[in-house]
Amino acid sequence: MTKTDYASVMARKGEIMLSSLGIDYAPFMAHPVTFDYEALMGLVPYDIDEVRQVQARAGVGSTALIELRQITRLARSLSSKGKGARIFVKDEAANPSGSYKARRAALSLHHAEQAGFKGVVTATSGNYGAAVASQAARRNLDCVVVQEVFDSHGIGQPEILEKGRACEIYGAEVMQLSVGPELFYSFLRVLEETGYFNASLYTPFAIAGVEPLGFEIVEQMQTATGAAPDVVICTHAGGGNLTGTARGLRKAGADRTQIIGASVNLTGLHMASDTDFNRKHFTTGHTGFGIPFAGWPDRTDVPRNAARVLRYMDRYLLLKQGEVFYMTEVLARLEGLERGPAGNVSLAAAFALSQEMDADQTIVVQETEYAGAGKQPSAQLSFARSRGIEILRGDSEAEIPGQTVIIPDGPGRIQVRDLDMTKLRRGLVKKAAAMVEDNARDDALVQFLADETQMSPTEITGLL
């Protein structure tokens, strides 16, 4: 009989992943570091028009682009003369499961269906689970979602409980786990038991599914303003959102659009900590995922991650939790849009950045997310307050994750805070270098790392 203890299952990780993906990663695993990224993406046998057709059939995509005129006005009132870029938002909440994740799920599940799988399994913090469950329902596929929900007291924060409920409503079996990275072990066991498809967030299909988002932005901005946007801001966690959007922008010819990532800064809270778990007030789009995934993408449930943000990200901005809650209020009160948490991270970044840009420039916040019970600041902050987190007004700069949430005492408090990209890029190069023998550091490695980090081959050689 096959052994199902932790060590035995983890030892079979490679085979389980291979048989559950319907993708042959072997050609991309020959070298410890380098592989042909475009060839990996090329495993998706559809061009972007075909991807859009697949998604249209699944009710996904073609969301509205909304200009946030009042928010732009507010930004201009705080800017020096001639500054204050126009801000637009892509209303991704209008997708079937309420977030852009429907795009990733639609193409992944189309692939699963084509490959003959009877069901799908996904490990996720939530929105993607709902997206997979929703797309599985449309295709008569079984769906199992493995979700980290509770701390050791059986308590889960409202946003996570809502995401789990959403998975259930679409007919998924939700395995709700307590805190810990061994979720991956449970996930592998389900894959083995069921023989279902691993609807990973990180396959080429899951990333190609986001490309139309970037493509649509260019089309819609051309109609609205006559040009591609100057800046697109993506809320960043695992990296698929930014990677897919950036690729779509490029495919639509937007070569000069600056691509910016934004995450909530949760520095100081440990992602695998049972006690920190319910002290974070954002469940995704935060630095706990964003920084490690940017700095080293290959830490997922696939042999090679197709989401590789440093190839595309020009800047990475960090927001305080209080700033994002404040922007959520701004969006509701000034634009009449109640939307869920993740997109408002980028929105807060856009609001601060607009004030540094010229008034004739444009910024697109590339997503919103649905707002159901549990997802509002009222739910998340009531929960936080009941657990001893202090909620104050003032300067968000002083916020300490896990102890305080500081709601800005005015819109002028929202700041542009750059994470040092050079450090992030160098970190990736160093880690790669450690995996390769000194005498094997050839031109192919240099070129790969230059592509991975948008640094020059000369800089890479210097670092190696």
């Binding site: 199992v144 307590s178 809650f325 209020e329 000034l334 019970a373 549990g374 902050l381 909620i391 007004r393």
Partner: protein, 103 residues
Amino acid sequence: MTSYAADWVQIHKIILRPDERPKTLPAETRAVPLEMRVKGWQVTESAEIGDQVRVRTVLGREQTGELIAENPEYGHDFGRAIPELLAAGDELVAMMRDMPKED
């Protein structure tokens, strides 16, 4: 409370005991087991909270574990208004009213 076959229930089981968890975990996480909860239609004839029961999940997969609830509430809601945010909203609306409209 007794639950019966075909009731919609929630079960709980330990996936990994503390000593089976990786040593790399933070101490507070490694001090507790990795737990799982799942819902399904009860298969066991009748059971009390705390009993081991069999359930059939929505997908028809059978699972065994400790019965912890019969049709548990989702429980999450909208919370209460956050006065700090309400006040911020009011300030913003007032600010916009005083701001000259652009051309």
